[in-house]
């Protein structure tokens, strides 16, 4: 049980790649924090620096109150679950799980008790005498979790632990890991490139791009208030529709104009004074697919657009509608019972009050 502090942490690999750049992250005790970002953005590097497997080029890392820059991995009191599981192939499941306790010279009876307790929680009691090669992917995953659990570490580090599992198993393991976190009451640092995992599991999410933290917040806040274009595009599925536009003033109202289309910028999205300062300038508007609906305007905040449907993809409960609006490919998410078919020409309505607006140049959000 411990908090983890990263202060101005930078990692430069030999060869000049700056994998992590001036990282500041404060993880609270017992928190479930997620590091999410596209492949190669430096997530693993951050985790490995916390674990002590990678040297820190500059900056400081604290676990609890202790500066751990120079502390060996074995003395950091952390456990790690690797993406490829990294089970010891020459040891049985039992020995894999008992290994760390044995190294700490824990009495045999206590080792046995702890291993069996962890095996029970993870439902792998029947596998204890098997070697890793005789296990399925999901079982290996559980053993890897078990090996981390037995030690009762002050923090769990998990590097894409579910990415090698099939979709169904991934969904159920997601719930199990969340449950495990509640049961153990330990700090979890969880790395993933999958925004769905991030959104469903974490207390807080740190979105990373090119080694730089873009935004740290709760899943709901990231969804509601993305700080920049990248976060807006990364969080949410299907992806937010992003359209280049210009601010135009008509009467005393402001519009985002692209092609022939004018989309109202309601005052609750962007105040009149801010909007005025952007008049004539380039912006990017972001509209989540779930805020584009079928049919005419439902309130005076709505803007109606017309579109030819390229593809209507039915997911059962909902339908993804792919269409092109003024040259921009867009997606709308409508209820599954909607009658829209591929090839239809329909009018769609944007709920402008849910619109996000970004500065085109800096990419930063300028809407509330």
């Amino acid at each position: 049980m411990a908090s983890i502090q990263l202060e101005h942490v930078t990692k430069q690999y030999p060869g000049g790649v700056t994998a992590v750049d001036d990282f500041n992250l404060s993880i609270e005790d017992r928190e479930f924090i997620i590091l999410v970002g596209p492949s190669g953005c430096g997530k693993s590097t951050v985790l490995r620096m916390i674990a002590g497997l990678e040297e820190i080029t500059s900056g400081e890392i604290f676990i609890g109150d202790r500066l751990v820059n120079e502390v060996a991995p074995k003395d950091r009191d952390i456990a790690m679950v690797f993406q490829n599981y990294a089970l010891y192939p020459h040891m049985t499941v039992y020995k894999n799980m008992a290994f760390s306790l044995k190294l700490r010279k824990t009495p045999k009876a206590e080792i046995d008790e702890k291993v069996r307790a962890a095996a029970k929680i993870l439902d792998i009691e029947a596998l204890l005498d098997r070697k890793p090669r005789a296990l399925s992917g999901g079982q290996r995953q559980r053993v890897a979790l078990g090996r981390a659990m037995v030690r009762n570490p002050s923090a769990f580090l998990l590097d894409e632990p579910l990415s090698n599992l099939d979709a169904k198993l991934r969904t159920s393991m997601r719930a199990e890991i969340t449950k495990l976190h509640q049961q153990l009451g330990t700090t979890f640092v969880y790395v993933t490139h999958d925004q769905t995992e991030a959104m469903t599991m974490g207390d807080r999410i740190a979105v990373i791009k090119d080694g730089v933290i873009q935004q740290i917040d709760t899943p709901q806040n990231l969804y509601d208030h993305p700080a920049n274009l990248f976060v807006g595009g990364f969080i949410g599925s299907p992806q937010m529709n992003l359209i280049d536009a210009t601010v135009k003033k008509v009467a005393d109202r402001f519009f985002a104009t692209f092609g022939e289309t004018d989309v109202l910028i309601p005052p609750q999205v962007m105040g009149a004074d801010v909007a005025a300062s952007y008049e004539g300038k380039s912006i990017v508007i972001g509209i989540r697919p779930e805020f584009i609906s079928e049919g005419g305007p439902h309130s005076d905040c709505d803007t109606t657009i017309a579109g030819d449907i390229d593809l209507a993809e039915s997911m059962g409960a909902e339908k993804f509608i792919y269409f092109v609006c003024e040259g921009y490919p867009c997606i709308a998410k409508v209820p599954g019972k909607s009658g829209i078919q591929t090839g239809d020409h329909v009018s769609l309505t944007i709920d402008c009050s849910k619109m996000h607006i970004f500065d085109k140049e800096s990419g930063l959000a300028i809407s509330h």
Partner: protein, 276 residues
């Protein structure tokens, strides 16, 4: 269809038989010779079972410098095997896992030394060891044999360590190992197959080496079995019976070592370590 299959089989078995005969016949003759009398062996007839089976040759051999020469062979070979495995595996680990200046040139250089024919090296070596007063000493042979087997050992072990996932060691280090401990608990078991193979390899190379031993030893202070066997055919006249008998005995340790380490050569040990 069936005929073709039978024919294929027949040809295959015939070839296997030929290979077995070609490989085993000389050895069989060696064994037969060792139990024969000198007179019968000289009778210019090929036979499978001698008229008079005698153990006298073995008894005779014991009074003919066999024991001290065998001791030399055992001391030299076991030293070389033990030292080469320790140094070789640690060096291979360093070459595989660490970045350091001159790594690749060093690695290539070590193999390059093996391309020079021993005949070209023996004179400078003789002169050097003579100056150091190291002629006719076991330590000299040990040093030379180490230089023979180490490059191969390092290359082979490096390739085994290269394919051992790094994350296993990292997992061990997080589980509470120092780097050295993770090497012993995790890496070593993973490369045991290669280790067994290289032990057999070093043993056979060293045990059978003749050229350097012949050139750099004079007396039983350092003379090894291959040199002794040669001596039987030159110094004391062509004593085929003695050289055959010594040959049979000298062939036993490599066979024993191979059998002993065979059980460690289990393939597929690494399967299931990490998700491919």
């Amino acid at each position: 269809m069936k005929i073709k299959k039978v024919l294929n089989r027949t040809v295959l078995y015939f070839l296997v038989l030929v290979i077995i005969v070609v490989t085993l016949a000389p050895y069989l003759w060696l064994v037969i010779s060792s139990f024969s009398t000198k007179i019968e062996l000289m009778s210019r007839q090929i036979f499978l079972i001698p008229h008079t089976i005698t153990f006298a040759n073995y008894k005779d051999l014991m009074s003919r410098d066999f024991i001290p020469a065998a001791m030399n062979s055992i001391i030299v070979t076991s030293s070389v095997v033990v030292i080469s495995v320790i140094i070789g595996v640690l060096a291979a680990y360093a070459f595989s896992r660490f970045r350091f200046r001159g790594k690749n040139p060093l690695l290539n250089l070590s193999l390059f030394t093996q391309m020079i024919p021993p005949i070209a090296l023996i004179i400078p070596m003789y002169i050097i060891f003579k100056r150091l007063d190291l002629i006719n000493q076991r330590i000299t042979l040990i040093m030379i044999y180490l230089s023979l087997v180490l490059p191969y050992l390092i290359w082979i072990m490096k390739s085994y360590i290269d394919v051992t996932p790094k994350t296993l060691e990292e997992a061990a280090m997080i589980d509470g190992c120092s780097r050295l401990k993770s090497f012993f608990f995790v890496v070593l078991p993973m490369i045991s197959t290669g280790l067994a193979a290289t032990v057999i390899f070093s043993f056979i190379i060293t045990w059978n080496e003749f050229f350097y031993a012949f050139s750099l030893t004079k007396t039983l202070d350092a003379k090894t079995l291959p040199v002794l066997i040669y001596d039987f055919n030159s110094k004391f006249g062509a004593n085929y019976v003695m050289s055959a008998t010594a040959g049979v005995l000298a062939s036993l340790p490599p066979v024993l070592i191979a059998l002993l380490f065979q059980k460690y050569i289990i393939t597929g040990l690494a399967a299931g370590a990490v998700k491919e």
